[in-house]
């Protein structure tokens, strides 16, 4: 029984939040890695792209709530998601046309593109703050829990409760659907194959008649969809605050690099590695250890939660030192 209690406590505080957070990071890292693979630069504006997409979703959700459209137990934000994706796609295509295309034609060095993306980050950040303000916004509605701690205790008779929030369930389901769609697109469709070809070897792809502008456009469209989904899921799970998305940049980049920049599979693995390390290292293990018979004197928390960025950073450093191409052998140029 104690072992089961330990397992439930572990799931409640480590596994479930870790899986939800990992899915959000994986979606974000997929966007970063796609841009890196096709456009060949690290996009510093990615966090703020997520914030922009999520902001559109928040606004549409409020409008829908206002006129009484809803999904019952599910959050209305899911209905708003397609509109938010469209909004984000429009923003990214306009940005590409106005900003990035010029440098692509110039064949500018990647580091120049990174600086340009810094400027885009400023503008997007300003735009989001300008439209919705810098404060916390709540937009989740519907049923709060799939299983609440009390129901779980009554059902199983254990001392420990297991809580699964609706948003956590939705995060995982939506992320699985998004990733499945992405891999289907990349592996089965003609456009997806041309994208992978372009990422592997630009010159060869151009020689075989692949239109680079088309590939780039599809990349931005997919990135918009991924970033918005990640942003909305994160916002539903925690809350929407523009500055937090900027801070997500570090774990997202860490995920993409740990997995191997340019490798979609690596981005997903990296997302979960970073998420689980953050959660396990900042979790106080006292409770779980007590159930399995140990008598720890302190909380057995390796690091306080304020240092969760340090965790992703240290993992990033270890990977950079010992395997700079990442776990899945991404690009190492």
């Amino acid at each position: 029984m104690d072992f089961l209690n330990a397992l439930v406590a572990l799931s409640n505080f480590v596994l479930v939040p870790g899986i939800a957070y990992g899915s959000q990071l994986a979606l974000g890292a997929l966007g970063v890695t796609l841009i890196y693979g096709i456009l060949r630069f690290s996009n510093f504006a990615h966090g703020d792209t997520m914030a922009f997409g999520a902001m559109v979703a928040v606004l549409v959700t409020w409008w829908m709530q206002g006129i009484g459209i809803g999904l019952g137990p599910l959050p209305t934000a899911l209905l708003a998601l397609p509109f938010a994706i469209l909004g984000c796609m429009a923003l990214l295509l306009v940005t590409d046309r106005l900003v990035y295309r010029f440098y692509r034609e110039q064949k500018a060095k990647p580091v120049i593109l990174v600086i340009v993306s810094m400027g885009v980050m400023f503008i997007m950040n300003g735009l989001v703050r300008f439209i919705i303000g810098p404060d916390d916004q709540r937009f989740s509605d519907g049923e709060r829990f799939i299983i609440s701690a009390r129901d779980f205790k009554e059902m199983t008779g254990l001392d420990e409760g297991l809580t699964i929030k609706t948003t956590q369930g939705i995060t995982v389901i939506v992320a699985v659907i998004a990733v499945a769609l992405l891999f289907w697109f990349l592996n089965k469709t003609r456009t997806g194959k041309s994208m992978r070809a372009y990422s592997d070897n630009e010159d060869l792809a151009l020689l075989s008649g692949i239109n680079p502008e088309r590939v780039v456009m599809y990349t931005w469209l997919i990135v918009a969809a991924l970033a918005t989904t990640a942003g909305v899921l994160y916002g539903l799970d925690k809350s929407f605050k523009p500055f937090v998305y900027f801070q997500l940049l570090l774990p997202i980049f860490a995920s993409a690099i740990v997995g191997g920049l340019g490798s979609p599979l690596g981005a997903i693995a990296g997302g979960f590695i970073i998420a689980f390390s953050e959660v396990t290292i900042t979790y106080a293990w006292k409770k779980v250890l007590e159930y399995i018979g140990a008598e720890p004197s302190g909380l057995v928390q390796l690091l306080s939660t304020d240092y969760k960025f340090a965790v992703s950073f240290v993992i990033l450093l270890i990977v950079l030192l010992f395997r700079p191409t990442g776990l899945f052998r991404g690009k190492s140029v």
């Binding site: 630069f41 690290s42 510093f44 900003v99 010029f102 990647p110 580091v111 120049i112 990174v114 600086i115 340009v116 810094m118 400027g119 885009v120 980050m121 400023f122 503008i123 997007m124 950040n125 300003g126 735009l127 703050r129 300008f130 439209i131 303000g133 810098p134 900027f246 801070q247 940049l249 570090l250 980049f253 860490a254 690099i257 302190g298 390796l302 306080s304 304020d306 240092y307 960025f309 340090a310 992703s312 950073f313 990033l316 450093l317 950079l320 030192l321 700079p324 190492s332 140029v333």
Partner: protein, 434 residues
């Protein structure tokens, strides 16, 4: 128009803008802009050393600036012997143990042959070391933080003159930069960017959470100043008399006097650093740096140790940012870790360097003064603009209220637009590299 004339005119323009602020608003705000502009110029010189000379992309400026601020607290606040007696030495011991663990791990990774044995040995060293470190650190930290937590609760400082904190800030920042450079330099250029972004966040997290160090988010206020206090000046009959002689009331005169004092100090530091950077640029060392920046492969073929030179210039540039951070904290008279925002302290400095002209020290200084002026003034201009645009709307129109409320966020938007426009149409900046 010849180049020197154009450059003089550009500097005169910025000087004119600051003078205009003095006439239109007040001399106090003009001097405020000027002082922070000078500090920003020092930061811009640091970033220019890294980016302009060597092409290193450092987005962790905020972290090095914050370390400079920490140096001010550690050097200039009063000594607290009771804190050292209760746990200060224990904390130092714990930190040494932590460092020893890392060194031992590096030693293991160098000496033990690659394979399972090495991984196991390294993990054992690191995990064992971590628990020893925490076991020594935690009780000492609680002891120090329990001492008079409302007013202090930290290990205090060395009680030295505050000006000594400026070189100390440079040393702290240089140490952090060396650690980061050792790991991230020599890899792809983006990796350094992400590593520096990370270290900056971590430095801020440490400053916010380690109360024993500099009181965390409880802030350290009332730091010693290198210039006299306004109150003392107002109480000094000689000063009041002199102020009356120029036709100023003692309160205004004293605030102006203090600010001019800071300006002079900052100007001296800026000029010394500018001179040093100019000399470095002209020296064989500077030519080598630019050669490495322009073609790493060729420079390496000529026998230059690229990674080592990069590490050198990265440490130097970060040290300059550390000095700037110490100067800024001295100017503020307080250390508030909560106020360090990457957009303000990292990315804004980048806008300064790029707008001014990367690779040119005078460009960096000009860009810093100009962009700082805009950063301060865009908000009132934006507010005014919004009021003009919305003047046709009703007083309580929701859109009007929203627009006026949001005018404060115009800053980021403007900075982004300026950065993109300069990169697109004048990528070499206002004063291009020669």
């Amino acid at each position: 128009m010849s180049v020197p004339v154009k450059n003089t005119l550009l500097f005169a323009l910025v000087g004119g803008l600051i003078l205009l602020t003095g006439f239109m608003q007040s001399w106090n705000s003009a001097l405020l802009i000027m002082n922070m502009g000078l500090v920003s110029a020092v930061m811009a010189i640091g970033v220019n050393l890294q980016w302009g000379f060597a092409g290193l992309f450092n987005v962790g400026v905020m972290g090095f600036v914050a370390l400079g601020g920490l140096a001010v607290v550690l050097v200039s606040t009063d000594v607290r012997p009771e804190a050292w007696a209760d746990g200060g030495w224990g904390i130092v011991l714990a930190l040494l143990l932590g460092a020893a663990t890392v060194i031992a791990a590096v030693y293991v990774s160098r000496r033990v042959p690659k394979g399972m044995a090495r991984t196991v040995a390294m993990l054992a060293v690191l995990i064992g070391g971590f628990f020893v470190y925490r076991a020594v650190l935690d009780p000492n930290v609680s002891a120090v933080e329990a001492l008079n937590p409302a007013a202090a609760g930290n290990i205090g400082g060395l009680g030295l003159p505050v000006l000594l904190a400026w070189p100390a800030g440079a040393l702290l920042a240089a140490g952090a930069a060396w650690l980061i450079g050792k790991t991230a330099l020599g890899l792809r250029s983006d990796y350094l960017a992400i590593a520096t972004l990370g270290i900056a966040e971590i430095i801020i997290a440490v400053l916010k959470n380690e109360d024993w160090l500099a009181r965390g988010v409880k802030n350290v206020i009332g730091l010693p100043r290198p210039v006299p206090y306004e109150i003392d000046l107002q109480g000094d009959p000689a000063f009041v008399e002199r102020a009356a002689g120029v036709g100023l009331d003692p309160v205004t005169a004293s605030t102006l006097y203090v600010k001019v004092g800071y300006s002079i100090l900052f100007l001296i530091v800026l000029l010394v650093l500018l001179w040093m950077a100019q000399m470095a640029l002209k020296s064989p060392w500077g030519r080598m740096m630019r050669a490495i920046r322009d073609n790493e492969v060729a420079a390496e073929a000529m026998g230059k140790d690229v990674t080592r030179r990069h590490l050198q210039v990265f440490v130097l540039g970060s040290a300059v940012c550390g000095i700037a951070g110490a100067m800024m904290t001295t100017l503020d008279g307080q250390l508030t870790p909560g106020s360090y925002q990457p957009l303000r302290f990292t990315f804004l400095v980048w806008v300064m360097v790029i707008v001014g002209g990367s690779g040119n020290n005078f460009g960096a200084v000009l860009g810093a003064m100009l962009i700082w002026f805009l950063w301060v003034q865009v908000e009132p201009i934006g507010l005014w603009l919004m009021q003009v645009i919305t003047s046709g709307m009703a007083e309580d129109n929701a859109l009007r209220l929203h627009l006026i409320d949001s005018a404060a966020h115009m800053r980021l938007l403007t900075m982004g637009v300026i950065l993109l426009l300069v990169l697109r149409f004048s990528p070499r900046g206002l004063i291009p590299e020669k």
